[in-house]
């Protein structure tokens, strides 16, 4: 990443943290003014490239120089808003940036197919606001700012999910339900922040952490903890606060689902880690209890229940959505172990899962583009009619199960090893059982693709031998990444460990 940093004049590199948020916000306004979808997409594409670039620059700076503290407008924290980047959020930032770019490449044909022409520019505009919001949550060091950016991203997310109504009106009710639940969650979060402010007088997260360490905890801070965990947990689709996710993912436009699946829950999970470790210290009694009794427990229940729900779905995207809830359970389990190894395994799974789910939803998007795939039985025979996309789907599906040669195997290995180190045999058993369930639901989809013959009307579309390149390229990149990072696991494992050490070792 150093060469990226060297590309920039040093002044610009210094402002990279702020630019990452500002560029998409400004671009959102520009995109809204665009007269047609293609120009709107170009704006989105340029923005996503710049954002990806700057987020990688930030990652490079953090890995080489350590913590970055950027004072917005020059005001000193804790009075001013601070953008505070350490290895943990640099990794998530880079992940959001890169996945955003890949999804935007995928967007042109997908959005062109699913959303009416007149609304596409506004759609891209809302997407850019969502991107800015997610990046803002990741990079800010101020607790109330987290709420602001969280809501910025959420409100625009409600909008872009609802745009799926062009194909299926259930997108509207899904978005509405997400709005209600998401707002309740965000409000809980802001209540928690309010309590923290009451107790400490500061809104800067690092500052709050320090004050709490010095003055100790009381019932106000415990209440704050509970509210914050519930609020962020809802956004992160922590069981049982996940109920908005399956419908939202199932009925949103394919591009939106691919983007959200790889970024939104990850960012909320990051925020949870940040609050648990940097604001509330993990050694505090009630926090330590929560690791085992809330996060690990919830994680295990999510893994078992959501995986079994996934097996019985008929809608292909909703199946993968339940799978996402289960995978969030894996991350929660890693978090709940309370050790650096567990947290590192959880973060590794966060990265790997983003890559996997992004690719899977893109593949489903490719199928939908040509054959309007919604149900699993619509997948019949796609191995023959769309071999490239089906091949990518197969590789990533096997990765989800945890077959060796893929990154899914690597994260399972590290999660099980971390659980063994912690001595949690029940967690190991849960991980194995949910992997078997993952095998069941992935096998359902793969057998439909490869073992069934395509319906007759598929053959009547000879031009559609493979998806357009704008779909194949990002999907191929992600599928390849699934394999590549198995052999070069040290890259991702190193990032995950650096991220985990940043929050656990720092104290």
């Amino acid at each position: 990443m150093d060469f990226l940093v060297n590309l920039l004049p040093s002044g610009l590199a210094h402002h990279a943290p702020a630019l990452v948020i500002v560029i998409p916000l400004v671009a959102a306004a520009v995109a809204a003014l665009m007269p047609n979808g293609r120009l709107g997409w170009i704006v989105a594409m340029v923005t996503a490239s710049l954002v990806a670039f700057f987020s990688l620059v930030v990652l490079g700076l953090v890995l080489s120089d350590g913590l970055i503290s950027y004072h917005m407008g020059g005001w000193e924290p804790p009075y001013g808003i601070e953008l505070r980047v350490d290895a943990l959020n640099a990794v998530v930032l880079a992940l959001v940036g890169v996945m955003g770019l890949l999804c935007v490449i995928f967007a042109l044909p997908s959005v062109g197919d699913e959303i009416e022409e007149g609304k596409q520019a506004l759609f891209y505009s809302a997407f850019l606001v969502a991107l800015a919001g997610l990046l803002g949550v990741t990079i800010t060091g101020d607790a109330f700012n987290v709420f602001v950016f969280l809501e910025i991203s959420s409100i625009s997310t409600y909008t872009i999910i609802a745009m799926g109504a062009g194909k299926d009106r259930r997108a509207l009710t899904a978005s509405y339900n997400y709005l209600i639940l998401g707002t309740i969650g965000a409000t809980f979060f802001v209540i928690g922040v309010g309590f923290l402010y009451m107790a400490t007088g500061s809104l800067n997260m690092a500052d709050i952490g320090q004050i709490l360490q010095e003055q100790g905890h009381n019932r106000v801070t415990q209440a704050a903890f509970a509210f914050i965990v519930v609020g962020l947990g809802l956004k992160a689709a922590m069981f049982p606060l996940h109920v908005w996710l399956p419908n939202a993912y199932a009925f949103a436009p394919n591009f939106v689902t691919a983007f959200l699946a790889s970024t939104a829950t990850k960012v909320a999970f990051y925020a949870l880690i940040r609050f648990l470790f940097s604001v509330f210290h993990p050694d505090v009694a009630f926090v330590e209890l929560s690791f085992t009794w809330v996060f690990a427990a919830v994680g295990v229940i999510a893994m078992m229940v959501a995986s079994s729900q996934a097996i019985f779905q008929t809608d292909a995207r909703r199946l993968l959505a339940y799978s996402s809830v289960a995978q969030v359970g894996y991350m929660m389990l890693g978090l709940g172990m309370g050790t650096a190894a567990g947290l590192s395994a959880g973060i590794l799974h966060l990265i790997n899962h983003a890559i996997m789910k992004g690719a899977l939803f893109m593949a489903l998007g490719a199928f939908a583009l040509h054959f309007g795939v919604r149900q699993i039985r619509d997948l019949n025979g796609l191995g023959r009619t769309m071999p490239a996309s089906a091949g990518a789907f197969t590789i990533v599906g096997l990765s989800l199960v945890g077959v060796p040669l893929t990154i899914g195997f690597t994260s399972k290995w590290y999660l099980i090893t971390a659980a063994l180190e912690r001595g949690w045999w029940w967690a190991v058993a849960a991980l194995i059982i949910s992997s078997l369930m993952a095998l069941a639901y992935v096998a359902r989809m793969l057998s439909a693709i490869w073992m069934e013959s395509p319906p007759e009307h598929h053959a009547a579309k000879p031009a559609a031998r493979h998806a357009p390149y704008m779909v194949l390229v990002p999907m191929g990149i992600l599928a390849f990444a699934n394999l590549y990072f198995f052999f070069h696991a040290d890259v991702l494992v190193g990032l995950a460990e650096a991220a985990a050490n940043a929050v656990t070792g720092g104290h």
Partner: protein, 491 residues
């Protein structure tokens, strides 16, 4: 230029590259078949070299995945033997496949040959693996690459059979084998195969070793230890060349070979003997041996009968490992060799009979021996080897296993082995008897089977006889693996 490492790498790349060529030459059938044969011959030559250099135990690092996780190859006598069996029989089986696939006008032949190449490559990977992680990886690739072969026919039966096949194999490997591998890594810090047993050297408690032993025994589903065996009879929906090579040689042998290698190099005989679960597992193996043979007698479909026979014969190896005395484990290794040659003869014969007459049930095969004397002769030789009569190769494993059972103080197992021989007679010889001595019902012979379908079983039958006399060199070759362990261990 030529080095041990290159040879190890070639063992994997020759079949893989061969697969690529087969795929490219898909529409030129003769060139395509030529590609398979050339790959098979080259691989056999390479493996012969590997067999020669195995005592020096060269290694090759394939990939460094993460700190502490590596994919490595490490050559040692057991692996070399398995590789030799698989690669040698691949040549024979390729000749047979050509004859069978063309004789029966099967579809999708390119896919068939490509998957074969990948499957052989993964079998090589299992044979040469230097640690559990590598073995597990190639084991999974083997499962996945053989799935299209099992479901080759594409009809409802094939799909159902394939579903059971993959469910059991993937289910056991992800559910039991993988956690056992990770647990080993956790307990010992690595998963390398080490002489004397990795876990034994790390002073693992016998109780924990016992649990791991159970997980490995049932997790390695390809070894078809009851009750993880249903995939084997269900995989008989595959065309016979698949059944012959994969389910008499590569897939099932990869399974029992894995158990043997894990037993020898991860646990070590001392630890197995000390583990509380090895005796129950030995009993389960013995019950598998007898029970599968009993079921075999009830089957009229020839391939189903052979499938259950395979289940029974595979458990010989598992039994040998669980007995853990040096001769028992040597017997297990010998069983891998002898059973492969014997069983492939039987399966190829079954396929040849089908090609010639379209008959699959034994009751319909009366009197065919008169029309296909060489074929039925080969079948009889193979059957006698499985039964365990000298001067056929299959006599030796039985002998060593019985001696090994006695050494381990489990003389009761000798009863199981003897019972198995008797039952083998009951279910294998009737076909020979009926074929040669019963009057032919009608002119059932549709056509003379192509030579390429008769020749391979005859070759392997001859091989079975030759192997009987080669016991000396084979035993000397394998001795260092098992005997020093005896002196080091407390047996």
């Amino acid at each position: 230029m030529w080095s041990a490492e290159l040879s190890l790498a070639l063992a994997l790349t020759i079949p893989a590259v061969g697969g690529v060529f087969v795929a490219l030459l898909g529409n030129k059938p003769n060139l395509r078949e030529g590609a398979t044969l050339v790959s098979a011959v080259l691989l056999a030559i390479n493996v012969a070299y590997l067999v020669e250099i195995a005592p020096s135990e060269p290694t090759l690092v394939l990939a460094n995945i993460a700190p502490g996780l590596q994919l490595t190859f490490k050559l040692e006598p057991l692996g070399a033997i398995f590789a030799a069996v698989a690669s040698g029989l691949w040549i024979v089986n390729s000749l047979y496949s050509i004859g069978y696939m063309r004789g029966n006008n099967e579809k999708n032949q390119t896919r068939f040959y490509v998957c074969f190449c990948i499957a052989i490559a993964s079998a090589m990977g299992v044979a040469l693996s230097g640690n559990l992680l590598t073995m597990f990886l190639f084991y999974e690739v083997l499962s996945l690459s053989t799935y299209p072969l099992v479901t080759h026919k594409g009809d409802e039966n094939a799909k159902r059979g394939g579903k059971i096949y993959l469910t059991i194999l993937m289910g056991t490997s992800i559910g039991l084998f993988l956690p056992a591998v990770i647990a080993t890594h956790f307990l010992a810090g690595s998963t390398d195969f080490v002489a004397g047993g990795l876990l034994a050297l790390n002073d693992v408690q016998p109780m924990i070793a016992g649990i791991l032993l159970i997980m490995f025994a049932f997790g390695i589903g390809k070894a078809a230890l009851m009750p993880m065996h249903p995939w084997l009879p269900n995989a008989m929906v595959a065309p016979t060349p698949v059944s012959a090579l994969l389910h008499a040689v590569a897939v099932v042998k990869a399974g029992v070979f894995s158990i043997l290698k894990v037993g020898t190099y991860i646990f070590g005989p001392t630890l197995i003997a000390a583990a509380p679960s090895s005796e129950p597992l030995a009993w389960i193996a013995a019950i598998s041996i007898v029970l599968a043979s009993v079921v075999a007698i009830t089957k009229d479909n020839l391939k189903a009968r052979l499938a259950f026979s395979t289940v029974s014969q595979l458990s010989y190896v598992t039994l040998g490992v669980m007995l853990a005395s040096p001769l028992a484990m040597l017997g297990a290794a010998l069983q891998i060799i002898m059973h492969a040659w014997g069983k492939i003869t039987l399966f190829m014969s079954a396929g040849a009979i089908y090609t010639a007459t379209k008959k699959t049930e034994i009751s319909q095969m009366r009197g065919l021996g008169k029309y296909m004397p060489w074929l039925f002769g080969a079948y009889t030789v193979g059957a006698l080897s499985i039964i365990g009569l000298p001067p056929l190769g299959g006599a030796w494993p039985k002998l060593f296993l019985m001696q090994g059972a006695w050494d381990a103080g489990q003389a009761i197992m000798i009863v199981a082995l003897v019972a198995s021989s008797i039952l083998n007679v009951a279910y294998l010889l009737p076909l020979s008897a009926r074929g040669f001595f019963a009057p032919a019902d009608e002119a059932k012979l549709k056509k003379q089977p192509p030579a390429l379908v008769i020749l391979p079983p005859v070759i392997t039958a001859a091989g079975v006889i030759v192997l009987f006399f080669l016991i000396g060199p084979i035993r000397d070759y394998l001795e260092p693996v098992f005997m020093p362990l005896a002196s080091a261990g407390a047996l």
